[in-house]
């Protein structure tokens, strides 16, 4: 057995070492699970984690999957820093897609350069307004934001289903639950012509760096951090908790909406009932893995994006269910939360020979 000894300080080494240790542990545990399922562990882990990078267009796919994760992870990191537990980003993502997609569908023939920005703004607005419902319920009625934001995510999914199977269904779509395709103008420009590389892949890192600056250098970022670490001290300093809840929900919701609208305009070109493979929930892992530090969100988003590609690769190459993406993500978060103990504590083994103290 072991006991935990407080270090008395925050270990900088383990703040960044813990995600790496967690990743290695996760690979090992996942390998063990694969072996248990009768799969060759090394090949499976290789297929899952490494092979997607060398596949044709692997890096482009990675960037496309990482963009929404980074955008949402950044928003969540600001909210979580302030102890505002928005876990309904999936719903805000969906509302962004609905608002942005709705704007695109409403302007099928417009060719003005202003169409795409308008679509983006519509998407941001959708996500933001949806998140502000949560902020309103918390500040006005004291309702727990974890539960309300999550319930709203379910509701958003049904709203999407209603729209694409009802009023917005493409009359030419042979009855499939999908809308008409958006116009090229509404889909927005590409970073490289004739690819799926939409401008979300540029926006994500830019916004991450901007958020890093806000959190570390501005009074607003400081206020968020104080609220999260010592709400009583925030009140003492005169920082309004309600205002910070509204702002952090608005930012995380707006960024989720932006992720949603980039996703449907940039990669899918229409609305369907399955616009997100759980990006909103994965973004929660991204936020934690990135240490709630917007700069750390970028590598974390890339890694989690890889788990989606890995799931597809395992499905195609090994005939496995792509559900292993979820398992891998869950284990990764477990390992990270466990490894984080090293940041504040030293592990002291008892009764075990040869263990280093």
């Amino acid at each position: 057995m072991f006991s935990l000894q407080p270090r008395g300080y925050v270990s900088q080494f383990w703040s960044w070492g813990s995600p790496i240790l967690a990743l290695l542990l996760t690979a090992a545990i996942a390998g063990a699970i694969f072996a248990f399922m009768g799969r060759p562990p090394l090949l499976t882990v290789y297929t899952f984690l490494i092979s997607p990078l060398f596949a044709p267009e692997g890096l482009a796919n990675l960037a496309i999957k990482a963009a929404p994760l980074i955008l949402m992870g950044v928003g969540l990191s600001l909210a979580y820093k302030a102890n505002v537990w928005n876990i309904g980003t999936e719903g805000q993502f969906t509302l962004g897609a609905i608002f942005g997609g709705g704007a695109a569908l409403a302007l099928p023939d417009a060719t003005s350069w202003a169409v795409f920005p308008a679509v983006l703004i519509a998407g941001i607005t959708g996500g933001m307004l949806y998140a502000l419902i949560v902020a309103w319920l918390r500040t006005a009625f004291n309702a727990n934001e974890i539960l309300t934001s999550l319930m709203l995510a379910y509701i958003a999914q049904y709203l999407l289903i209603y729209l694409v199977t009802g009023p917005w269904r493409d009359p030419m779509g042979f009855g499939y639950p999908q809308t008409a395709m958006f116009s090229d103008t509404a889909d927005g420009p590409r970073v490289i012509e004739a690819t799926n590389l939409h401008f979300g892949i540029i926006a994500a890192p830019v916004i991450a760096i901007l958020a890093w600056w806000i959190l570390g250098k501005t009074s607003f970022g400081f206020q968020l951090r104080v609220l999260g670490q010592a709400p009583r001290a925030a009140r003492f300093a005169g920082f309004s908790e309600n205002r910070l809840v509204w702002l952090s929900m608005a930012i995380s919701g707006g960024l989720a909406g932006l992720a949603g609208v980039f996703e449907v305009t940039g990669t899918q070109g229409q609305l369907t009932t399955t616009i997100s493979p759980g990006y909103g929930f994965t973004a929660i892992i991204v936020a934690f893995l990135g240490r709630l530090n917007p700069a750390g969100i970028i590598p974390a988003g890339l890694l989690l994006a890889l788990t989606y590609l890995g799931g597809d690769a395992a499905q195609i190459n090994l005939g496995m269910s792509n559900a292993i993406t979820g398992i891998f993500q869950g284990i990764l978060l477990f390992c990270l939360l466990g490894a984080d103990v090293l940041i504040l504590y030293r592990i002291k083994w008892r009764k075990s020979a040869g263990a280093r103290a």
């Binding site: 935990l4 539960l147 709203l152 049904y158 979820g326 398992i327 978060l333 477990f334 939360l337």
Partner: protein, 306 residues
């Protein structure tokens, strides 16, 4: 008349998984631990129960498997949050994310096939009483078990010394520690109980309520169970009322869809979730009442200063 009886019977069934999971979570929260992983544990219980029932044909074994699956996941939660001091909110979310993925992976081979279903009891004479027999004596055994467990938990928490210790730990863990109570050990036990109950609740879904396995079949019921505990303000009796209320919302949204009313089915499907938000808002408004009943240490880490 028959419609009313059928409604009552169906609402009882719809409320049972909520009641089982919420009873477990109530105990967990009474010792001031917040396990947000109920949804994940229910999914694990659902697939474990279904798979074992399909493979062995034995329902008792299936229920045991479900209980163990829920407990296994909750043990992981306990280890991370109680031993390694990890953040409870994040760990609970991890449980749900993992439970979703794992159940989907294991369950991939069980989609669209059948397994034995929990039978409804039939007590000679009693079950045959018109109306009353149907309303009181014609359910599957888990419904009775759920009610019995709730009664047991209510009695245990308020009347036994062990229950008193649990309430004390929820109120002031440092004081309990100083008096010599094993805070961490007791919390482990409570979390394991919560896991077992969530596993059972999941099995009820896949073996009785909709006797099938489908990916993500818990569909937010784990979260509703969490809301239920807040709704009940940590009081067992109100848990029962809440379970019936939420169960009724869940069932009615299905029932009305079946009637073919001219309302889009997606809206009706969303009703239980909208209802949950509305109920949460209504009960949370009175923050004094919540604070009065809420275990004071809820969600806070405890470390024995050694």
């Amino acid at each position: 008349m028959d419609i009313v009886i059928n409604l009552l019977v169906s609402v009882m069934a719809a409320s049972t998984p909520l009641l089982l999971a919420a009873t477990g979570e109530l105990v967990v929260e009474k010792v001031a631990v917040l396990n947000l992983g109920v949804e994940g544990m229910m999914l694990m219980g659902a697939i474990a129960g279904f798979a074992v029932a399909h493979e062995t044909g034995s329902l008792p074994l299936a229920l045991l498997a479900a209980i163990f699956a829920g407990m296994a996941l909750s043990l992981l939660f306990a280890f991370l949050t109680l031993t390694l001091q990890a953040n409870q909110t994040a760990t609970g979310l991890a449980l749900t994310i993992f439970g979703r993925g794992f159940s989907a992976l294991v369950g991939a081979g069980y989609v669209g096939i059948s397994a034995p279903t929990l039978p409804h009891i039939h007590i000679p004479v009693l079950s045959d009483i018109p109306v009353l027999g149907q309303i009181l004596f014609s359910y599957d055994p888990l419904i009775y078990l759920a009610l019995a467990l709730l009664a047991f938990v209510a009695w245990f928490l308020s009347k036994t010394h062990a229950g008193l210790i649990m309430r004390a730990i929820g109120d002031q863990h440092d004081a309990a520690h100083v008096l010599g109570y094993k805070v961490i050990r007791i919390r482990y036990l409570a979390v394991l109980f919560g896991g077992a109950m969530a596993g059972l609740a999941g099995a009820y879904m896949s073996l009785a309520y909709t006797p099938l396995w489908a990916q993500d079949m818990i569909a937010g019921r784990g979260w509703v169970a969490l809301a239920l505990v807040t709704f009940a303000a940590w009081r067992p009796f109100w848990l029962l009322i809440g379970a019936w209320l939420f169960g009724a919302m869940m069932y009615l949204s299905l029932y009305v869809q079946g009637l073919g009313v001219p309302v889009p089915s997606a809206f009706l499907s969303a009703v239980p979730y909208i209802g949950t938000v509305v109920v949460l808002v209504l009960i949370s408004r009175d923050s004094r009442r919540i604070r009065l009943h809420r275990p004071a240490m809820l969600g806070r880490a405890f470390q024995a200063g050694n």
